[in-house]
Assembly symmetry: C2
């Protein structure tokens, strides 16, 4: 049989999406979420392409691997495409995150809709500065990072830790988080974090993105 197995369309390996498809679908989801807020009801692959810089054929190809979500001559229904992609990414549910660092960056994150829009809920905020303890950030009181970390992670079902702490504080904190059972660390500090292989670290890099954008401006 040369033909493609019905269970493994392009962009998937067995049951899992390829890295590229998962990344692009996440991207589409971001634009769709924003488009929905702006009151858009349908969107064409060309419009999605303009916003994501992904080729429109690629977008149609990515989506058609999972079903016929669009309407010819019209485009895709924003609401229904959002829920389809959430299903594909298996991120339809709520996920709880803990925020570390109640400085400017931490407060900006806590007050942003950006995580909430994608089903992430901040359930605890920590800081080591005694002056900040008990202060209210968003809907939460700032707690001290301490021995009860593991317990809070278990009780609140925290999967993701977001680090908005000074660079020097990041590695020791990451060690504590790993010990407490956190599986995904979202690192906004500049530290290069060392973690065991079962833990995923994502280091946010706005300057890197900027460098990249600048290259294509300069050439």
């Amino acid at each position: 049989m040369i033909e493609n197995d019905a269970e493994t369309p392009f962009g998937k390996v067995g049951d899992k999406l390829t890295l590229g498809v998962a990344a692009r679908l996440s991207r589409y989801l971001q634009v769709l979420t924003q488009a929905k807020k702006m009151g858009k009801e349908t969107i064409s692959s060309q419009e999605l392409s303009d916003y994501t810089h992904v080729n429109s054929t690629q977008i149609r190809r990515d989506l058609s691997g999972f079903g016929k979500f669009g309407k010819r001559g019209v485009g895709y229904n924003v609401d229904s495409l959002v829920s389809q992609i959430r299903k594909i990414l298996r991120t339809s549910g709520q996920h709880n995150i803990a925020l570390f660092g109640a400085g400017h960056l931490g407060r900006a994150i806590a007050s942003s809709d950006i995580f909430a829009d994608h089903g992430f809920r901040v359930v605890a905020i920590f800081d080591n500065d005694p002056q900040k303890l008990g202060e209210t950030v968003g809907a939460h009181q700032v707690r001290q990072i301490g021995g009860e970390l593991r317990q809070i992670v278990d009780e609140e079902d925290i999967v993701v830790a977001v680090l908005a702490v000074p660079t020097a504080a990041a590695q020791p904190l990451a060690d504590e988080l790993v010990a407490a059972g956190v599986k995904i660390i979202f690192n906004y500090s500049e530290a290069l974090l060392q973690v065991p292989p079962e833990v995923t670290v994502h280091t946010s890099s706005p300057a890197v993105d900027l460098l990249y954008a600048l290259y294509f401006y300069l050439t």
Copy 2:
């Protein structure tokens, strides 16, 4: 002639890098910059791979297209690799950026090393809130966004505008920036910005990255 033209190694199209190579080189640069701060003098392709999640062969391949930067059995000299990559990306110089929004996010950005480390200098900070006018953020006084925007952009040689403003304020501001001649807009708001084709918009998307990380955790 089947062989590869000497002037166009893999990863380049004529004189320009492919998107993928430019993105990866920017990524290496980020890790190298951090590694340098941590006192590392040499780094192997395997270590770079651990931090960037890019395959180590891919890294060696990306670098060897531009010269023999490494030492067998030893690795790459961090300092020299940083300057080589900067040369390749043509971002050795200083670039001036203007920051819009003096809220928590704006202050976090202004006080971060992350742009400075890569040769980006914040030369002006703007906010529309009269209460914030004249306040000092980082080394700059907050200015009002107003008619003299074009003049400041010209005088200060501003190439990049970083938007840390509320979603509703983003599009009108983007329009003003385009009119003032800014070519790259770095958007931290959730707005979908409409700009002419010669202007590049990069929308920062931490939640999207998180969604993506979560997918691979859940499966």
